[in-house]
Symmetry: C2
Subunit: 293 residues, 2 copies
């Protein structure tokens, strides 16, 4: 039976995954020293085993060395293979040199992970300019889609919904969820002036005035895109919008700020541990892993 | 002429190094996004250039991705070579599997840096079980020694000194500085019960009662080793000790705690930016680089 190890944040999810697939749960410890160095200890024998590491890659800089230490040490100790199960995959948005001399971090980070792991499983990575994971990963990758689970949640919880993509990048994605939820949809237009300064255009939403607006995006990070959309919808006298993200990164006080801006409800999938996790994707990961082996 | 780029902390040192060697100063920006990702932008043309990156590797986890992004991007943009100038080299202390299943992070981190840089210059890396950098680095490395500069500082600033190594690991190192300073020396014996619990044995220091004790160590990190030594010396009615570290990491409140424990003075070399930087090693780096090219 394959082994599964988990970073502290993901222990509950790894445990429930272990039961379903099934995997044998392995023990590991991560120690962060006061000087900013980390140490990883693998406490279960990995010799000749297929090893999985469950680690969501929000805050990737703080975890990158530790996952490298895990993967290298597992191999040194005789692991047959080391797979990364990362429900949220970081560093997918800097997918081109937007300005001269900039690093294309999506590609470099992919090469870093490809070097240390034999394969990778993730949920809805932010594929925008890269159309497939194969463009940047040279290990086998499996992508799980949350669209069905989100569509089901919307169908079960909202009577008459209009799905709204907060910007053009979310277009295809929102269309897909709307189709599965059998709901109407539209997309706002965003102009970004910097990390924290986002302007939203005014779409014609008069026809949806008695609908519950459902803002859907793949990643909620600083929340500024969502907040601009919430404020815009409130200005246009729509009902308070339900905000759904696959990945609730919620940098800084993003969650609180969205609540203050007037979000009716904030819902995320459990790819990053957060009180808003209302859509459980564990069974989707389990199914994918059962099929993929 | 070669180019030198610098992380924010090291900009002044890189600028003075650039004048001495000489290097041409390059511009770079590091942006830390609120979601814990980083972006590096190289603002000077590196095509066909020999490139140096000046970055002290205290808090290495917070810098590792950024230095990887720099190195990879410099290469993508046509740099002929990329050298890391890192006055303080992190991850040198976990130099064996102290407990079963632990990562040997010194070796894994060395392999990470060796992969991204063509060569490396550092100052007094913590070589204990690894006797030379070659054991773990497979790129050319140059090591600069601070012993002479420290010995000179002691000769110029303290009349009648006895050098004291706070533990056995510092023995060889303190002996060397004492020899160069033409000073007496002794070494305390340390028993470590954990990160923060260090017990110090009682050496026979009666013969040095009218000397100024000078505690010398390569790295001051949590400060617990130094503090235990300071407290011990104060108990034995020695004068308040002068504490000298090559590398002042000063994790958490280490600096303040050493002052409170009764340190007479705390002096470090300028390998990590800190108010205690009183021994300037820039000229040593410049000399090494002029000779090495």
């Amino acid at each position: 039976m394959s082994l599964i190890f988990s970073f502290p944040d993901n222990i509950d999810q790894a445990a429930s995954l272990a039961k379903e697939v099934p995997f044998q749960l392995g023990g590991m410890e991560i120690h962060h020293f006061p000087d900013g160095e980390s140490l990883v200890q693998i406490k279960t024998d990995v010799k000749d085993q297929d090893v999985n590491l469950y680690c969501s890659l929000n805050n990737p800089d703080s975890k990158a060395m530790a996952i490298m230490f895990f993967a290298k040490t597992a191999k040194e100790l005789g692991a047959k293979s080391v797979r990364l199960i990362t429900p949220y995959l970081g560093y997918m948005r800097q997918d081109k040199r937007f300005n001269e001399g900039e690093a294309i971090t999506s590609r470099i980070f992919a090469s870093f992970l490809s070097q240390h792991f034999d394969s990778l499983v993730t949920i809805d990575p932010h594929l925008h300019r890269h159309k497939t994971m194969k463009e940047i990963y040279n290990i086998p990758t499996q992508v799980i889609h949350a669209a069905d689970a989100i569509a089901n949640w919307i169908k079960e919880n909202i009577d008459k919904s209009v799905l709204i993509g907060p910007d053009e990048e979310s277009d295809q994605w929102v269309a897909d969820v709307a189709h599965r939820a059998n709901a109407a949809y539209t997309v706002l237009t965003k102009i970004r002036h910097g990390d924290k300064d986002v302007e939203v255009s005014v779409p014609d939403i008069d026809q949806y005035r008695d609908y519950t607006p459902v803002l859907v995006d793949d990643i909620i990070s600083t929340g500024h895109t969502m907040i601009a959309a919430i404020e815009h919808l409130i200005e246009t006298k729509m009902k308070p919008p339900v905000c759904i993200g696959v990945h609730g990164v919620f940098a800084g006080n993003a969650y609180k700020a969205m609540q203050l801006a007037g979000a009716g409800k904030i819902i995320t999938c459990n790819t990053i541990l957060h009180p808003s996790n209302e859509i459980d994707l564990s069974n989707l990961i389990a199914e994918k892993l059962k099929r993929w082996g």
